[in-house]
């Protein structure tokens, strides 16, 4: 298991991480969420010692991450990092060897991942000659080629077409299923909800929410979906008076997080606005959890 414990670091006077803590257990896919500048990339870089931390610890299987551990990790940086003029296959073999594989195993693993990710026919192409999507696939192959025990991926889905997203999602699930710990950041919340078992939401260099997707969707407070005839703007919500908080308005259907024991008050407020077409309990969307966590709840 990867444990990031109370890690802090700064870039000059800018605090990037302020006591950041989270965990990535083996066998789980953990989504790493947060607004731009929240410290996601910096936190991921601390795992690999690419950022100098001022306090805190990064642990792998209970001990501080050392050089031998790093060779067991796979990393896909946000700003893609491959040699532009090196052939894809050569590059994968090189990176596999750097992570400890022998020449034959490295070549076999490179071939396997190029085949698996659909870039086998571009094995002899230079990276700079690939499309953005194929570069992304090559980058993922570079992170996976040495069969890592921890996979850290910064925005792995950006730039991928739907087929690529499906492939990438499947690969991440399979890696977790074979026992790897998988951490990836993304702004595509629906995708995270679909792929991950756990989520860590960070803001201003700190963790603000963490838990399983299931628990977060259930939430502490129930969510109601309410639709009132002839009130697509949801003006009736003005009468809630503390009975609930509007999370969003989906084409006239308001999603309301209900205060403890105030469901009837919400129903009364809706009725006062007109005929109630829909009044039903619902799961919280991850986007709602995210907005609430980073202090951007819809009003």
């Amino acid at each position: 298991m990867l444990e990031v414990k109370e890690v802090s670091c700064s870039y000059g006077r800018t605090v990037a991480l302020d006591g950041m803590s989270f965990e990535v257990p083996r066998g789980r896919v953990v989504g790493f969420l947060g607004p731009n500048g929240a410290g996601k990339t910096t936190a991921m870089r601390t795992v690999f010692g690419l950022v100098a931390v001022t306090s805190g610890q990064v642990l792998w299987e209970g001990h501080a991450v050392g050089r031998p551990d790093l060779r067991l990790f796979g990393y896909m940086p946000e700003e893609r990092g491959l040699y532009p003029t090196m052939k894809v296959a050569d590059q994968l073999v090189y990176l596999a060897e750097l992570h400890g594989l022998g020449p034959r195993d490295a070549a076999t693993a490179a071939g396997h991942w190029m085949e698996r990710l659909g870039i086998a026919e571009r094995a002899g192409s230079k990276v700079e000659a690939l499309s953005l999507g194929n570069q992304q696939r090559a980058q993922l192959a570079a992170a996976l080629v040495h069969r890592p025990e921890l996979l850290v991926l910064d925005e792995p889905f950006s730039g991928l077409d739907p087929v690529g997203i499906d492939t990438m999602s499947e690969v991440l699930r399979q890696e977790a299923a074979r026992g790897a710990a998988v951490l990836f950041s993304s702004h595509q919340l629906d995708l995270v909800e679909h792929v991950c078992q756990d989520v860590v939401i960070v803001d201003r260099g700190r963790r603000v929410v963490a838990g399983s997707v299931e628990d977060l969707a259930r939430g502490e407070h129930p969510v109601l979906e309410v639709r009132v005839t002839d009130d697509p703007a949801g003006t009736w919500a003005g009468r809630l008076q503390g009975a609930g908080t509007v999370l969003g308005n989906d084409r006239g259907t308001l999603r309301v997080m209900v205060a403890p024991g105030r469901s009837q008050d919400v129903l009364e407020a809706a009725r006062a606005g007109g005929e109630v077409e829909l009044f039903a309990y619902s799961r919280r969307h991850l986007s709602e959890v995210f907005r609430q966590a980073v202090g951007q709840v819809a009003r």
């Binding site: 690999f48 690419l50 950022v51 100098a52 790093l70 700003e79 992570h99």
Partner: protein
């Protein structure tokens, strides 16, 4: 092989493979080899019909002119006899360069300056030696009965003297070799230094360094790059040497055949020391910038001492060595370029060169340490150019 050394070797192997595969490397190597071949062969072609060597002849002894022509033929040159009225005039002509050798039959052979014991391949010395031998033999044979003369293979030879009795100066060929070596060292160090800068900068700019440094230490990456590039450097030098020797042998070029072995050995040491001194520094400089446009500026402080060394070598060869030039011969940033020229011109003794090499070795160690610190602390830092002062004040990741 330990894991650490293995990682360094993997990095070095990638450098060798990728750089050697690059078209630019192939083209530059071919151009260099052609330039070396042309540089070696051209002097031989230009001197294929040499002007006759003027030999001053003192006195009117019969057949003395024949001896001059015979000596010239034996040494592969043509000679023009200049009849001198007296020895005083002959010595003045010799000093002023109007004649290359003065022949006083039965007495002596004079040169402007006697060559050193390690470099006696100049044409004038060879002719003078041949004259001395032939005239000595002729004199002896004239005094002996014919049957005894027939059995004499060699007679006593005349003394060969120099007008200047001080320490013999360097040969022009040795000086030429030293100067050519200085040019080559300057160009190669600059070329390979910039290659290392560009390579380190590209890794940083493409962010691939983040992926690589997740597996290897910065010092291993730096060492691997320097080692790999150094292997290519060595291979290119070796190829140039083979072409130079081959072309020199085939054409009889004075550049190669006259080049003093001592000067070539000094140049070889300087090349190795110079690469060791500059390679890590150039790589670290490349890691300090993200924009390619900043590469020239960040490497300028390294280019300046190299250029200064080249200027000092040039001045030493063509206008004599100043005190400033002698000082530069002992400073690690300039010594690798200056030393071959100064050694060739006789302004740097062997022991002085050894002292200079020892100072350079210490300089190599210091620069390697500083460069590895700078590289480790700047290669992962994105954004604008990193300042050296800021790097040294900061802790590494």
């Amino acid at each position: 092989m330990s894991a650490d050394r293995n990682l360094t070797w993997l990095v070095a192997r990638r450098e060798v493979r990728e750089r050697a595969k690059a078209r630019s490397f192939t083209v530059s190597t071919l151009l260099l080899l052609v330039a070396v071949a042309v540089g070696v062969v051209l002097p031989a072609l230009l001197s294929s019909k040499p002007a006759p060597m003027h030999v001053g002849l003192v006195g009117r002894q019969p057949a003395a002119g024949d001896v001059v022509h015979q000596a010239a033929r034996l040494t592969g040159v043509t000679a023009a006899v200049v009849h001198e009225p007296d020895l005083l005039t002959a010595r003045r002509d010799l000093h002023d360069g109007r004649v290359a050798v003065v022949f006083v039959p039965g007495h002596e052979v004079l040169l402007e300056r006697l060559p050193s014991s390690t470099d006696r391949s100049s044409a004038s010395y060879l002719v003078a030696s041949a004259l001395a031998e032939l005239d000595g033999e002729r004199a002896l044979l004239a005094k002996l009965p014919p049957q005894v003369a027939a059995s004499v293979e060699k007679g006593a030879s005349l003394p060969v003297r120099g007008l200047a009795h001080s320490t013999p100066g360097p040969s022009l060929r040795a000086e030429l070799t030293g100067f050519v070596a200085a040019i080559l060292i300057y160009s190669l160090l600059l070329s390979y230094g910039m290659r290392l800068s560009t390579s380190a900068h590209e890794e940083k700019a493409s962010r691939v360094v983040e992926v690589v440094l997740a597996a290897v230490r910065p010092s291993q990456l730096l060492l691997g790059k320097v080692l790999g590039t150094g292997l290519l450097f060595g291979a290119q030098i070796l190829a140039m040497l083979v072409v130079a020797l081959g072309a020199g042998e085939a054409s009889g070029s004075p550049v190669v055949q006259g080049g003093a072995p001592g000067v070539i050995a000094v140049a070889a040491v300087c090349l190795v020391v110079g690469y060791a001194f500059y390679c890590t520094a150039f790589a670290a400089a490349g890691a300090m910038v993200t924009r390619q446009a900043d590469l020239f500026n960040v490497t300028l402080p390294l280019q300046i001492p190299l250029f200064l060394g080249y200027i000092a070598a040039d001045t030493s060869t063509f206008a004599g060595t100043s005190l400033f030039g002698k000082v530069l011969a002992f400073l690690p940033p300039t010594a690798p370029v200056v030393d071959p020229a100064l050694y060739a011109s006789g302004d740097l003794a062997l022991w002085q060169f050894l002292v200079s090499a020892a100072i350079c070795a210490a300089g190599v160690a210091a620069v390697a340490w500083l460069a590895s610190v700078v590289y480790a602390r700047s290669v992962l830092q994105a954004g604008p150019r990193v300042r050296l002062r800021a790097i040294l004040a900061r802790q590494t990741a």
